[in-house]
């Protein structure tokens, strides 16, 4: 190695050292690092950190509003703080009543939604497949469809012997219409060529119904079920708040009446979680039964 090379070598080493020192400084102060992390960092990390910060900030604002008893248009003086809600949750989650309420709501949803799906799909297929049935049944659908399930509450109480049955009935009404309409729509869209192909392969009318029409409509049916599930929760909570004895809707409403304001928010969040879980279940069901549409 000749002298000039050695000199060159030392020069680069010095430059490296300088760069290292500078970057450790930036690390120490962290500012440069933070900016990089948040705005030009890896997308997956950003996608996780920013929503988290957003939620934390929201909680802080909420805490601040309730602590200062802010009263600007919205009145926060009676609203429990996030910490209060958290304490209420810890208190309530160990009680049997809370889990019983959840159990009742899920039970009503499961019952009403199952009946709603069976009735809804049957009516929807009949409407799409038979002209005569369509002429007979469609007018009733058109009259009842725009009436929100909540408007049925007084009628339901009069119609059914027990409150329990009327709540399930209202929930059923919430679920059934989206399922009927989406099933009907799916059946209407069945391409005539598919039916002709099946007939030419020796399928009779019944075979065509079960092997062509219903399978073709299944993606639409699952859309109807997802919408129906949302509507069912909506109707269930209305029913429980007005005439229930158990159930998470009743829990939320009762918390208001008993001035346990922390529990109102615990109830609301529980409803949100339950509704997400049931909708997610439908999504999974769809993935399972229609792998061909993915």
């Amino acid at each position: 190695m000749i002298a000039s090379d050695r000199k060159q070598d030392r020069k680069t080493r010095e430059r490296d050292k300088y760069a290292k020192k500078k970057s450790s400084l930036a690390n120490k102060y962290g500012l440069d690092y933070m900016i990089r992390f948040l705005f030009i960092g890896r997308r997956s990390v950003r996608a996780f950190i920013i929503p988290l910060l957003s939620i934390v900030l929201g909680l802080l604002v909420w805490q601040w509003l309730t602590q200062t008893h802010a009263d600007v248009i919205l009145d926060f003086s009676n609203i429990p703080s996030p910490l209060h809600v958290y304490k209420s949750f810890l208190n309530v989650v160990v009680t049997k009543a809370y889990w019983k309420d959840i159990y009742w709501s899920l039970y009503r949803i499961a019952l009403a939604f199952t009946i709603g799906s069976i009735v809804g799909v049957s009516i929807g297929v009949a409407l799409g497949y038979s002209t005569v049935l369509r002429l007979i049944v469609a007018p009733y659908i058109e009259i009842m469809r725009p009436i929100p399930a909540i408007a049925w509450v007084p009628m339901a109480i009069l119609l059914w012997p027990t409150t329990e049955q009327s709540i399930v009935f209202i929930t059923f009404l919430g679920a059934v219409f989206p399922i009927v309409l989406n099933t009907w729509d799916g059946v209407k869209r069945v391409p005539v060529e598919l039916v002709k192909a099946a007939r030419s392969l020796g399928a009779n009318r019944i075979s065509v119904l079960f092997h062509v029409v219903v399978p073709y409509a299944i993606p639409n049916i699952t859309v109807g079920m997802a919408l129906g599930m949302g509507a069912a929760w909506f109707a269930l909570l209305a029913g429980e708040m007005i005439s229930g004895r158990y159930g998470i809707g009743y829990f939320t409403w009762e918390s208001y009446q008993l001035i346990q304001y922390g529990n109102i928010i615990v109830g609301m969040l529980t409803i949100g979680i339950l509704s997400s879980i049931t909708s997610g279940a439908i999504y999974l069901l769809k993935r399972k039964i229609v792998p061909w549409s993915e």
């Binding site: 002709k196 392969l201 020796g202 549409s293």
Partner: protein, 254 residues
């Protein structure tokens, strides 16, 4: 030679009724299709060739006249009359194998027997290895192959094909035409093939029936008399074939 798949078209009129009006498409058409023959219908679009094919398949009722398959009038679609449509009509929720075995299972074959048949015909159209694919995962040409297998698995007396290769690129089309030729030579099912491509009609069939839009009836029947030992390219380029093509093209606009 097979003795089933003989079609007798007797003075058939086809058309659509809309209210009191009747629009006739096919007028008083008579034609005999021998068992085991390969016939092409060609004509300008709107001449009624597809309608005629659908009527043979039992999907349209003639306004008058009758279409007779082996002595029995055709009134409804059925497993005897296999159809391959221009559009893709594989059931998207069934795999290739499930599609192909659909016909045999409707006719009461057991799962095992239907599976065996399905494998046989999937192999015949060159789709072995794709049994468990959904139609969406196949190319257009492969979907057509599967559709042909599905129609053949029923062992139909007649295979009706409605411009089946219309939407394919030239290479895919040629490969499917070759497959169809060899399938016909192996099975000797009666084939009725609708197309608007003169080359395709001459390449594949024994007889080319030219249907005129103006009269709604047959304007010419041209026999190709292809010698099947002759290589296909040589046949297509021979002077006689060129002559036939010219005659077809002259007849077409009428």
């Amino acid at each position: 030679m097979k003795d089933i798949g003989h079609i007798e078209i007797q003075r058939v009129c086809l058309g659509y009724k809309s209210g009191l009006d009747t629009k006739t498409v096919i007028q008083d058409l008579s034609l005999t299709l021998d068992a085991g023959s390969f016939t092409s219908f060609i004509g300008a679009s709107g001449c009624g060739k597809s309608t005629l094919l659908n009527a043979i398949g039992g999907h349209y009722k003639p306004l008058s006249g009758s279409i007779i398959l082996d002595g029995v009038e055709i009134t409804t679609p059925g497993a005897d009359l296999g159809i391959v449509f221009q559009q893709h009509t594989l059931f998207p929720w069934k795999t290739v194998k499930e599609n192909v075995r659909f016909g045999p299972m409707r006719r009461g074959a057991g799962r095992a027997a239907a599976d065996k048949l399905a494998d046989e015909y999937i192999d015949l159209v060159g789709l072995s290895g794709y049994e468990s694919y959904y139609p969406k995962m196949l190319s257009g040409g492969m979907q057509h192959r599967a559709e042909i297998a599905r129609a053949l698995a029923n062992k139909p007396a007649v295979l009706l094909m409605d411009e089946p290769f219309g939407a394919l690129d030239a290479q895919m089309r040629a490969s499917l035409q070759d497959s169809l030729s060899s399938i016909w030579e192996n099975t000797h099912v009666t084939i009725v093939f609708v197309t608007h491509d003169v080359n395709e009609a001459i390449r594949l069939s024994q007889r080319v029936v030219i249907i005129s839009r103006r009269s709604g009836s047959i304007s010419a029947i041209i026999e190709t008399n292809r010698d099947h030992d002759e290589p296909i390219e040589q046949y297509m380029q021979s002077r006689r074939t060129q002559e036939l093509k010219k005659r077809c093209l002259e007849m077409l606009p009428a």
